[in-house]
Homo-oligomer: 375 residues x 2
């Protein structure tokens, strides 16, 4: 039998109880889901029983058109509906791309998204990393792959800047490896900036997107943007893994975008997340000034460094009912680290302050922490 381990994050999510203040998951704030509008869309969709029937492996046409339009008009990356494959959450994209195109070897950023690591490990892939771009150039070739997040990388929150995007594209065009670019957070820049993906500069690429962070994750609807030839090849894997993504959920999202303005909603999400991020940053600065971090420009996490091993600290934190993710689990080689990731989107202001005070007490049990209103 094969040996597989559950992801540490999913284990934490399963372990948290109602007392836990959790900064661990990557959960968006459910109070921001556009439930009222989605209800309108859902009831409209239910007028046609075909919304509950089997449908095409590539995905619902209207939805693919709308996603293509986002690429063309928002990402400055001309795209048509035949270049979009709908997936069951963007998590499934890892599996489909790897099954269809990748051999053994894959390069990732260090640290990187834990879900990508899980998906590739289950496929027995050989996951590797690199130290700098020169190093990367020596390692890529036409049969291996490179996975990266360009915008608000999970976990670090970093953005690959324009100059570096061009450098990466230059390397890719020279080495001709498969490039997988994850855009899960690309539309959540706090100032509304939308950057052109590296994939727009390189043809042998796959750009992954998702409705999970901009509408709601419970639908499990994501997508892959790639050239048509690749989409056609991936459909074989797509139908093998789950035939197609829920017709119902695709049609609801399609109808929601027919009737309502998705980008008006995203504006609201950005604004709310920005204020949560700022509040968490202020709490860290006030209660745990030794925690070193930079305020992110977007996304859902604050990433920083403690003065001590974060894996041990995370275990102790669970005992005082606070959950966060130590960076160790984001490294493909499981290296020790003082760094840690804190999600700020799924907690109230009160919980953010309470949680960080609990952590501060854990770190300095003899110092009395004074709780004051920050804002």
């Amino acid at each position: 039998m094969k040996k597989l381990e559950r992801s540490y994050i999913r284990q934490i999510l399963d372990a948290i109880n109602e007392r836990t203040i959790s900064f661990a998951g990557g959960l968006p704030n459910e109070n921001l889901f556009p439930v009222k509008d989605l209800k309108v869309a859902t009831n409209k969709v239910l007028e046609n029983p075909l919304c509950l029937q089997y449908s095409k492996s590539q995905g619902v046409e209207g939805l693919r058109e709308k996603i293509a339009d986002i690429y063309t008009n928002k990402f400055d990356f001309p795209t048509n509906k035949d270049e979009i494959l709908i997936t069951t959450g963007s998590q499934q994209a890892f599996d489909i791309i790897a099954k269809t195109f990748l051999d053994k070897e894959l390069y990732v950023q260090k640290p990187t998204y834990i879900g990508a690591l899980s998906a590739y490990k289950v496929l027995d892939m050989d996951i590797k990393s690199f130290d700098d771009l020169d190093d990367l150039e020596n390692k890529l070739n036409s049969t291996n792959g490179f996975y990266a997040m360009s915008d608000f990388t999970n976990p670090t929150g970093r953005v690959i800047d324009q100059k570096r995007r061009e450098d990466v594209a230059k390397i890719l065009n020279k080495k001709e490896c498969y490039f997988i670019e994850d855009g899960a957070y690309s539309l959540i820049d706090f100032n509304g900036v939308i950057r052109k993906p590296i994939s727009a500069l390189y043809e042998k690429s796959f750009h992954m997107g998702s409705f999970s962070k901009i509408v709601a994750p419970g639908f499990r609807v994501g997508w892959i943007r790639a050239k048509k030839e690749y989409i056609d090849q991936m459909m074989v894997s797509k139908e093998a893994v789950d035939l197609h993504t829920s017709t119902f959920n695709q049609m609801i999202l399609d109808e929601y975008m027919n009737e309502f303005d998705l980008f008006e909603h995203i504006k609201l999400v950005r604004k709310e997340y920005k204020s949560k991020m700022e509040y968490m940053a202020e709490c860290f600065e006030k209660y745990i000034p030794s925690f070193e971090f930079k305020r992110p420009q977007g996304g859902m996490f604050i990433y920083g460094s403690f003065k001590e091993d974060s894996f041990e600290l995370a275990k102790k934190a669970l005992e005082v009912d606070v959950a966060f993710v130590p960076a160790k689990v984001f490294f493909h080689n499981n290296q020790d680290s003082n760094e840690a990731r804190f999600n700020f989107t799924n907690s109230t202001f009160e919980q953010i302050e309470q949680g960080i005070i609990r952590l501060a007490k854990l770190l300095s049990p003899n110092n009395e922490i004074k709780k004051e209103c920050i804002a």
Copy 2:
């Protein structure tokens, strides 16, 4: 790059147009979907925004409880909620079971479900078959697997009888291979008989089920029933492939079963499908008496044998806008065959008669076919 081919059925489904009378898919009748009741359930579920949030990899607890109850009370197979893993359609179960447990070698029935073949081929598995039970006994061992449908096998519609179930269980208990039993049609016996699965007689087994044929496929909700130890191991693969199945769709089905009687609905489906099957059988007997088949006791297909190669016939049939599936594609070794599968659930009585008349004309262009009312 890997070489993968799209399934013939999905290609047909993509090729059919509004003129085509299609007996090709395995589509349930969308006019039977309990849309009104599902609408009530959906609107109830939407009162809680957590229906659109991420959820646990194993699946929504209430739904797992209800599925476990079906095993215990209907299949005479005692089961609790920890022995159920929710999957994104039962198609995903192939992928998850194989990734978690199987090595290279897998035995299947001949012919067998094409979706199983696709799922295993994408994983580069070595698919084999056997001629009779003695032969099977010589081939199974503790590291390989055996996949079978016991009830209304897709495509043949055959049922493995009680005596043979016990024989298979005896072999399994002796050889200790992994056993994957597909129950997609188990609840659609036209007389309401529900048979105890072979899995109930053998511990190293996985029983797959689905809401696709008994409620609606557009939700993409299926499940695996296995012992808890296996479920825990499969959760690693489940979270790697798509984190979890749509929270929304799981909660709708859970609420639907809270508020309405699933088995009252299934009764309606059985009755309707039985009358469609009988009508198609009468049409074959009348217009194409040379087509040899047995009336199935359940499921969604009539399977039989022409006097000529069915693959060639299926191609010609598409030209007169009739689609059905030649048996060749259900054989893992792609062997030639005169046999073919006809779906009767997704056509009207009128379409069934029209389609078979068109086929009859194709087979005997010089005979004048008289269209008369059969019923």
